[in-house]
């Protein structure tokens, strides 16, 4: 009897293993090609031009040349096809790729500005349902063609494009020059009546340093990062740049903010972590600047009021903790009096920047990308009352006051600046 029992149990176990183990859908890893990023442009013959970057595991694992090579031997292979829909287009790619394409490791969806300005609702609706798509992928808007961006994005320090996008997501915490947006958050924002979407802006820098767009911060200015993607005057290296954000109203892109404004956006949202900042030296006679590393002390305090006529007033208090990292003029900003002057200058500059960003979002974009609506809706008990209020229509008329509180806590590795005596 025990032998029969063991036999029956063994057969049952075998049956369970064979049936429940997913044999129908099993795929060996060397039968699958993983798409690392997808680019979406307006097609010429069909609705979309879909560009995919497929991981080339041989070169990622070995010492292959970094970057993308069209149909070549880089760490990724780039292909494009025109199609009326994005996911079904993968089958078209399969006609020239021997492996089954998978979106399980897709880290970025790069959408061209042209497509973004036409509206993304239809596009996202057709993507979000697909089981392989992960909401944790980045959504980026490309100035110019998304295909160009994928093709010209040269990986110099990474073998895997996946890692590049993972690092892009994280790197915003170190400078705040773009507000990172994940697919799931962008989709949520499209559904929301209290906040509008924004995505990081990417572009390929064409030409050398001289062709870069002008920045408002000139030699002696106080602005760092007042560029949009493709305009940062860097020579050499990867021509792909990510700085600034695309601004959406509803599902349509309506404008662009630069890197500096992206920092203000993050500060107003309470998501700014850390970044280097330059302010004009308040006590120096010449065009000197003081360099600081700034971190957000804690989330901003946002108070909202609605009067009986439905006018909204918003007061925002932002708390920053700058640390001095460089003083060109040699003025002793470590003293109590000078430190207070510098703190006031930092607060003023950032306050001015935040107010200007808010003005642009109200007058130029008419889009609450900061998400003040999330606080305004606290005044309403039910969704029907909130929906009837139509916050996004009220936002351009809202009165928003920003106050920045800066407190220099540390002065780097020097506690005092001694006078320069020359020769």
């Amino acid at each position: 009897m025990p032998a029969v029992r063991i036999l029956v149990l063994s057969l049952l176990t075998l049956m369970a293993v064979l049936t429940a183990g997913g044999c129908w859908g099993s795929r060996e890893t060397d039968e699958v090609a993983y798409i690392l990023s997808i680019g979406l442009d307006r097609g010429e013959q069909d609705r979309f031009l879909v560009t995919i970057s497929i991981a080339n595991p041989q070169n990622i694992a070995g010492a292959g040349a970094g970057g993308a090579v069209e149909g070549g031997l880089g760490s990724s292979v780039i292909m494009s096809v025109e199609s009326s829909a994005v996911i079904p287009s993968l089958n078209l790619f399969d006609t020239s790729v021997a492996r089954q394409l998978s979106l399980l490791h897709t880290k970025a969806y790069i959408i061209s500005e042209e497509l973004a300005r036409e509206g993304l609702h239809d596009l996202l609706l057709s993507l979000i349902r697909y089981r392989e798509l992960r909401g944790t992928a980045l959504v980026l808007v490309s100035r110019g063609s998304a295909r160009d961006f994928i093709e010209k994005n040269k990986l110099l320090l990474e073998l895997s494009p996946t890692k590049q996008f993972e690092l892009i997501r994280k790197l915003t915490g170190n400078h705040g020059l773009y507000a990172s947006t994940l697919f799931q958050h962008f989709y949520n924002d499209l559904k929301s009546l209290s906040v509008e979407g924004s995505t990081p802006l990417v572009a390929i820098r064409e030409g050398g340093r001289g062709t870069a767009g002008p920045a408002s911060g000139d030699g002696g200015g106080h602005v760092l990062g007042d560029y949009e993607a493709g305009e940062v005057p860097i020579t050499g290296g990867n021509p792909a740049q990510i700085i600034g954000n695309a601004v959406f109203r509803g599902d349509r892109m309506v404008g662009v903010i630069g890197g500096e404004e992206a920092r203000y956006l993050l500060m107003l949202q309470g998501k700014f972590r850390w970044g280097n900042l330059v302010v004009a030296d308040p006590l120096a006679a010449g065009p000197a600047v003081v360099s600081l590393v700034v971190k957000q002390a804690h989330s901003p305090k946002i108070r909202t009021e609605i009067d009986p006529e439905g006018n909204v007033a918003i007061d925002v208090d932002i708390y920053l903790e700058p640390e001095i990292i460089g003083i060109m003029s040699g003025i002793d900003y470590e003293t109590e009096e000078n430190k207070a002057v510098l703190e006031e200058t930092v607060s003023f500059e950032i306050q001015r920047g935040c107010q200007e960003l808010i003005r642009r979002t109200q007058e130029e974009f008419r889009s609450d990308i900061i998400g003040f609506g999330k606080k305004v809706k606290h005044h309403f008990w039910t969704l029907s009352a909130w929906e009837e209020f139509r916050w996004l229509e009220h936002y351009p008329e809202a009165e928003v006051n920003v106050t920045v509180h800066s407190r220099i806590r540390r002065t780097g590795l020097q506690l005092k600046t001694m006078p320069y005596r020359g020769g």
Binding site: A16, T19, A20, G22, C23, W24, G25, R131, R134, G135, T136, K163, E166, K170, Q184, Y187, N188, D189, K191, S192, S194, G371, K374, K375, K377, H378, F380, W381, T382, L383, S384, A385, W386
Partner: protein, 365 residues
């Protein structure tokens, strides 16, 4: 006399709690988001109050007949004809819950992990686990749930903690969502539609008798609804209510959003295993409940011979809905309202009849 075995209150509480939270692994949370909007989580405290009242009413009935289960009590109070009709309602309810949960769990597995496996194969796998569990008896199921609860509850706790960085308190506003009537009316009635009150009343003798019923029921409901509130609050804080109402499997979607650095992501596979355990337990329990209630109704000495035919019936019923959306609709439109009958309506009627009969007896004497 059916030999059911026996187990302690701790096992009973865990068994009922796990059975109750199994619904949160299915499309059910999305319907709460549709009913309550931003206040989807508020539908649960109202449901808890109703469920506690249901447990209380049931405990009062069971205490009147300490040696019997709700099946024998119903027959005694209403007589053989009406009592059998009501007991058949209870039996059908268990069968319907078991069949629909089998289908929904099978579809969930196909959507999440086994996209190319035929639904019949996944259904058979779930039913095989259910049959094995039910065959081994309620004591084995209770002890299994006691062993597995740390993994199930630990998995849920891990999920909730991992989602903390993505939580946004503002998503819970406006606090009353779709309005008090929707939340505390439709919402609470929906969340009060459980299987566990009537199930516990059928298993009462194995759980240690009527004396322990109230305490076990209260504790199980508090744990299950507490976990439900925690899950719904996290879901509402993480996902916009409109998006939440769209998702087929909100809990799975939540697990897919976990991102704690480059090395801690894609952990949803762990949760698929956890809810498979909960699903198998739920299916085994409902199959057991259906079999035992029919056995008691037919006054048979053993429930095991009925397991195989009822398992087959459950398998066939589970394949009747043409698709996953239809299963979800059946769950919401038929099963939830149906659950109110054996859990609340019949016990109240039993109590009223018992009281009226006692009154007429006293008047006669």
């Amino acid at each position: 006399m059916i030999r059911e075995g026996s187990f302690g209150p701790a096992e009973a509480v865990i068994l009922l709690a796990i059975s109750n939270i199994a619904r949160f692994f299915l499309p059910y949370p999305r319907s709460l988001a549709e009913i309550g909007g931003t206040a989807a989580w508020l539908t649960l405290p109202g449901g808890l109050v109703i469920a506690l009242a249901g447990v209380y009413v049931m405990s009062v009935i069971l205490n009147k007949y300490p040696d019997k289960t709700i099946i024998e009590i119903t027959e005694e109070v209403f007589g053989p004809v009406l009592g059998t009709v009501f007991n058949l309602v209870t039996f059908s309810f268990f069968l319907a819950v078991g069949a629909l949960f089998t289908r929904e769990f099978a579809e969930a597995m196909i959507i999440t992990a086994l996209p190319e496996t035929p639904v019949s194969v996944v259904t058979v796998a779930f039913l095989a686990m259910g049959l094995a569990g039910a065959y081994l008896g309620i004591e084995a199921l209770a002890r299994t749930s006691r062993l597995s609860y740390l993994y199930v509850l630990g998995g849920i706790a891990l999920l909730l903690l991992a989602m903390v960085p993505q939580c946004d308190l503002d998503n819970l506003f406006p606090l009353l969502g779709r309005g008090p009537l929707q939340i505390f009316g439709n919402g609470s009635l929906s969340t009060a539609a459980v299987t566990e009150i009537i199930l516990a009343a059928v298993l009462v003798q194995a759980m240690g008798g009527a004396g322990k019923f109230r305490s076990i029921g209260f504790r199980a409901m508090l744990i299950a609804y507490g976990l439900g509130v925690a899950l719904m609050v996290t879901l509402s804080m993480t996902v916009h209510y409109q998006s939440l109402a769209e998702f087929t499997l909100p809990f799975y979607t939540l697990a897919r959003q976990i991102y704690l650095g480059r090395f801690f992501q894609r952990v949803e596979a762990v949760f698929v295993i956890i809810w498979s355990v909960a699903g198998a337990l739920k299916i085994a329990l409902t199959l057991y409940g259906a079999t035992v209630s029919l056995t008691r109704l037919l006054k048979l000495p053993d429930y095991r011979p009925l397991l195989w035919p009822l398992g087959l019936v459950m398998f066939i019923i589970s394949l009747l809905p043409p698709d996953m959306p239809a299963s979800g609709r059946l769950d919401l439109i038929i099963l939830r309202p149906f659950a109110l009958i054996p859990n609340y309506l019949i016990p109240v009627l039993v109590l009223v009849f018992y009281w009226l009969r006692g009154r007429s007896r006293r008047a006669g004497s």
